[in-house]
Amino acid sequence: MGVGIQVEKLNAYFGKTQALHDINITMAANQCTAVIGPSGCGKSTFVRCLNRMHETVPDARATGRVRIGELDVYNGTSAVAIRRRIGMVFQKPNPFPTMSIYDNVAAGLKLNGFHERKKLDEIVERSLQLSALWNEVKDHLKKKSGASLSGGQQQRLCIARALAVQPEVLLMDEPCSALDPISTGKIEELIFQLKERFTIVIVTHNMQQASRVAEFTGFFLLGELIEFDKTTKIFTTPSDKRTEDYITGRFG
């Protein structure tokens, strides 16, 4: 099951440059939260702070408190343990090109020392079922490489890979920006189904996508969280003029 996410006074830096300013936000369990804003506003930095990917950039650091369920992300938990509970899907599908479809999905588990064949088979099938890819690949799981799939299939393979380690939260950083409308539709449908089991945070430049998949939306601008509310409110009657100007295309 998904867990809630609580962020308090989160600040993020790249060297001396501050990318996020005092972000406070509470995201409910088993809901999808969309993060929107113009390029450079800090939305990707924000999600990368949730699973401590931000600190992998040289000179980057973050302060503040992030709680994923009962887990204190920045206090006493290893980054590896955190990333096991928080899956991530990136803008460009990135399957391991030399691995088969099966091995792509099983990679995270094998990396964690899990090698029980029968159990692995079960998890690979379940993950591919969850990512709505099973029917398309079940006949050549070990014959075809991940890179042989179409872009949309590759992205669903990456989702299956993230789900295989049974996370509680799924972060998606513009997961459809490289996909055609049909593949995008499949991923969006998938997000709806995955909400029953996971808490989802999605960064998107596509406001229609945010309005279609997310219950809550946060608008970031220049590293600040300008407005966070129900998606219906943000896209029909936002409270802040800056939010309205952005979503109506009056700046940016």
Binding site: F235, T236, T237, P238, S239, D240, T243, E244, T248
Partner: protein
């Protein structure tokens, strides 16, 4: 910036204002036609109806295109929804003007009757409502629209008073029944125009504030939505 889209919104606004002008003119002509028993004005109202109907279809078509092609959000989405509803109300204002003109054309065939009702006063109040509702749209000001809502009760009272007076007149003087009946229907048509002006004002408030004030819900039942648009 989405300049093509915003140009489309400006065009839509301009079209609706032209449509508003036509509907307002139709009501004024029909009312003058009644007051002066002027058949020429009545014919102008009837002939103008086609133009209003064409404008209604064009505005709906453009609004539909903008919704489909531009996926508007927030204030722009509310604006387009409001325009489509105002468009429909304006077309019906035009229909009411035609109804009044047809009553007048019937009445001029009959002897002039001294009726205990001040249609000119009612017509002035109704025209003012339509004009102010359109002004609130032009200015994008919810407070102007709010004032229109408050005027509706005045027109309702005028219609009720006209009804009582005219029924009484029909009872007392059966020879003027047809004139009284025509006038009663004119009062009813004017009251309907006032209702459409009220609808327009409500749609302007929805556009500007994002608040649904239809059917006068008590304040505690109104959606608690404060739009960023208000007060701009």
């Amino acid at each position: 910036m989405r300049s093509r889209f915003h140009q489309g919104l400006d065009d839509l606004r301009a079209r609706l204002l032209r449509m508003g002008g036509l509907a307002e003119q139709a009501v004024d002509r029909a009312c003058q036609g009644y007051i002066e028993r002027d058949l020429a004005r009545c014919h102008m109202v009837l002939e103008g109806e086609t133009q209003i109907n064409i404008a209604e279809r064009e505005i709906d078509e453009q609004a539909f295109d903008l919704l489909a092609m531009q996926q508007p959000m927030a204030v722009d989405l509310r604006f387009i929804l409001a325009v489509t509803k105002i468009n429909s109300d304006l077309e019906r204002v035009g229909d009411q003007a035609v109804n009044i003109a047809e009553r007048v054309m019937d009445m001029v065939e009959l002897p002039i009757a001294d009726l205990p009702v001040d249609i000119a006063r009612m017509a002035a109040a109704v025209s003012a409502m339509v004009r102010r509702a359109l002004e609130s749209f032009i200015e994008g000001k919810a407070e102007l629209a709010q004032a229109v809502l408050e005027m509706d009760n005045v027109v309702d009272r005028m219609k009720d008073e006209a009804f009582i007076s005219l029924v009484k007149a029909m009872n007392e003087r059966p020879d003027i029944t047809r004139q009284a009946l025509d006038t009663l229907l004119v009062a009813r048509n004017l009251e309907r125009v006032a209702d459409h002006a009220t609808n327009i004002a409500e749609d302007v408030i929805f556009w500007v504030r994002g608040a649904d004030v239809r059917h006068n819900p008590p304040p505690e039942e109104q959606p608690i939505r404060q739009s960023a648009t208000e007060g701009r």
